[in-house]
């Protein structure tokens, strides 16, 4: 994939719940190996916007382009088919199932006789989750009994295992301790090197400022602007979140790679 074609582009997205415009004509894009932070107050529309991309929510207007081509995303299955994976804030785990069952939920490995290949799934799950969290041992208990960090490891493992090209992380570190947060940060760096594009959603600027290459700020369902983290200070971004105004002297859009041909 060429660097100047966005991995994904959401153009002029509209979502309304009843009379409330949750997302009102927002356009964002994401390039390979890039982390875009999506910031805004609770209720700014960032989660709704991203649900459109992950198939959990239908847009009323606008279009989605993956790798430059227009796609229809009607449900989570469609999103997965386009290698769009999501780590939800709620983690979306089935609490009564164990780690392997959750990791492979919807994509189980099947034996030739049509039955679940549980041993293989467990082996794979052990391999993947251990890489994220070496202390993870409880593979035979419902995930309800795991700690917040361990549950997060299961949710992350599920998203990255299946050749994700576009990864959506909704408040990925909100429930984590210091060490676990660092683990997630390391993982994000690693995924970037593999050319995966990541949307990082947060209402807290500190969570994303150091990790993101660009930041898009939303307020009241509209996009305030998109800036390169290198060009702005945290205070500038706070101003965008609170006042809904671009900082002075900073251009909107901020492409990841400086390329004079494209605007």
């Amino acid at each position: 994939m060429e660097a100047n074609i966005p991995l994904v582009e959401m153009r002029d997205i509209h979502v309304a719940f009843g009379g409330v415009k949750a997302v009102d004509g927002v356009t964002i894009d994401l390039y390979p190996g890039e982390v875009v932070g999506l910031l805004g107050h609770n209720g700014a529309g960032k989660s709704t916007l991203i649900k459109v991309l992950s198939g959990a929510c239908q847009a009323r207007g606008g279009e989605i382009l993956v790798g430059g081509e227009r796609v229809e995303i009607r449900n989570p299955r469609d999103a997965r088919a386009h290698n769009i994976e999501t780590i939800y804030q709620t983690l979306a785990l089935a609490d009564n199932l164990d780690a392997a069952a959750n990791l492979f939920l919807g994509r189980e490995i099947i034996q030739p006789n049509g039955l679940l290949d549980e041993v293989r799934m467990e082996a794979e799950a052990r391999r993947i989750i251990r890489r994220l969290n070496p202390h993870f041992t409880k593979f035979h208990v419902p995930v309800a009994t795991l700690s917040g960090g361990q549950r997060q490891a299961v949710a992350i493992a599920r998203a990255v295992h299946f050749e994700a090209r576009i990864l959506i992380m909704d408040e990925p570190t909100a429930a984590l301790g210091v060490e676990e947060t660092r683990m997630v940060a390391n993982l994000i760096e690693e995924l970037k090197k593999d050319g995966i594009g990541i949307f990082l959603i947060s209402h807290d600027i500190h969570d994303v400022f150091d990790l993101a290459d660009r930041l898009t700020v939303m307020k009241n369902g509209r996009r305030v602007g998109t800036v390169r983290t290198a060009d702005v200070s945290q205070d500038d971004v706070l101003g965008m979140i609170i006042l809904g105004k671009m900082p002075e002297g900073v251009a909107d859009g901020g492409r990841p790679v400086p390329s004079p041909e494209t605007t």
Binding site: A56, L93, G106, E118, A123, P142
Partner: protein, 425 residues
């Protein structure tokens, strides 16, 4: 120490509790009835009486695990029994033999009847599932409606007349002297069951070996496998110890065209056909629930419906299938229940929905979804039936029987939740 032992064995301690409760009930009634309860005759009858509710309970587990409920199963059973009654008595004999010479008791009738009933049961179940899944009406309401509708339809088919007698082969499905598999077939079933047990043990071990997972200690495998095999053998020993009364045996000999030996016809019951059916249903449903994608999705839906949806599971279509399976099992139960009575009447299956739900719940299914086992539901049905038959044998008044069963249901769920709270902390 004991905990370590149980961990090694990987047995469900809850299951042990239920088996213990069952043992207490049986022994208490055995003493109370002066030694009539734990006898081949009574246990045979108990197994037949349990079969119909237990078959439906297997399906109810899936329904409850998926956070739904089905209140219509008793009425649906009644409707399907009437439907199959008319099909085998009025429709098929005429179709096969022609209008003037109806072919009563034609050997194909029982099967065609069951096939028709199963198709009707699945269709009705699927329809209810459609209303629940796609039209988003709560299952409680849809099946409460179904409870009234199907009972009404059962009456409508014959305007309330009882259909009797039923097809003579169809009646085999209900157990009794005709509907058992006698000595040798019972032992063949026992051998197959034991082979299945050991194959499962061996296969699980081999699978774990493939990925170098820690294996269960060898002795633990032998204890679980051996315990299950012993249970099967004891069961068949008991069933084959119950002799068919001589006159009934002679009738069976005659009906089957066997020559009666000089010393007279002698026959043991062996496993009842409805119990064989229950065994097959239980095996298939256990595999479906535990080893297939479908079963995995049912549990995921129960654990977290949103997560299931986000994982790309089509929960609406799943709901249709879950209720369709429930409908199919209702048809099988309807065949067992009506064949046992040798008639289909308007009241068959009345209040069965409550027995079935109670069996599933006593067996550990959680009404908040995501949890339940097939074997637990069958044990639950057996516990309920043991209480009911035992009290009937002792001569407890019917109202008091209901009181006892109601109280036991609540206590069972209370103990279960208390136990879980203690072990899950």
């Amino acid at each position: 120490m004991i905990k370590k032992l149980l961990d090694d064995l990987e047995v469900d301690t809850r299951l042990l509790g239920m088996v213990g409760a069952l043992a207490v009930i049986w022994i208490a009634f055995h003493i109370w009835t002066d030694g009539l309860f734990i006898t081949p005759r009574n246990l045979f009858n108990l197994s037949v009486q349990t079969a119909s509710v237990a078959v439906m309970a297997c399906g109810m587990v899936l329904v409850i695990v998926a956070r739904h409920i089905d209140l219509s199963v008793g009425s649906l059973l009644g409707f399907l029994a009437m439907f199959m009654g008319v099909v085998q008595s009025d429709v098929l004999p005429q179709l096969i033999g022609g209008g003037d010479t109806p072919a009563f008791n034609h050997p194909a009738i029982w099967f065609l009847t069951l096939a028709n009933g199963s198709a009707a049961g699945m269709a009705i179940g699927a329809f209810q599932g459609f209303v629940v899944g796609y039209l988003a009406v709560p299952a409680f309401i849809v099946t409460l409606g179904g409870l009234l509708v199907w009972r009404g339809c059962a009456w409508w088919i014959t305007t309330g007349q009882t259909v009797a007698p039923l097809d003579s082969y169809f009646n085999w499905l209900g157990g009794g002297a005709e509907g058992s598999i006698y000595f040798w077939p019972s032992w063949i079933v026992a051998i197959i069951a034991c082979l299945l047990v050991w194959y499962t043990v061996w296969r699980a071990r081999q699978q774990r070996h493939r990925f170098d997972f820690p294996l269960k200690p060898r002795w633990a495998e032998f204890v679980t496998g051996g315990g299950l095999s012993a249970l099967i053998v004891v069961f068949v020993l008991v069933m084959t110890a119950y002799e068919v009364p001589e006159r009934a045996a002679a009738r069976v000999y005659e009906a089957r065209g066997w020559t009666i030996p000089e010393e007279g016809a002698s026959l043991v019951f062996g496993i009842a056909i409805p119990v064989v059916i229950l065994g097959i249903v239980a095996l298939v449903m256990t595999i479906v629930a535990r080893r297939t994608r479908f079963g995995r999705y049912v549990f995921a839906m129960g654990g977290n419906p949103d997560a299931a949806e986000l994982a790309g599971i089509n929960t609406r279509r799943m709901t249709v299938w879950i209720f369709a399976i429930m409908g199919l099992l209702c048809a099988i139960s309807a065949a067992i229940a009506s064949a046992r009575l040798n008639s289909a009447d308007n009241a068959v299956g009345t209040l069965d929905e409550l027995r079935v739900i109670a069996a599933a719940v006593i067996g550990g299914s959680s009404l908040s979804g995501g949890r339940g086992t097939i074997y637990g539901a069958i044990l639950g049905a057996l516990v309920m039936q043991s209480l009911q038959s035992g009290m009937a044998m002792v001569g407890v008044d019917a109202p008091l029987q209901n009181i006892v069963i109601g109280v036991v249901l609540v206590i069972a769920v209370f103990v279960d939740q208390w136990y879980r709270r203690r072990t899950e902390r």
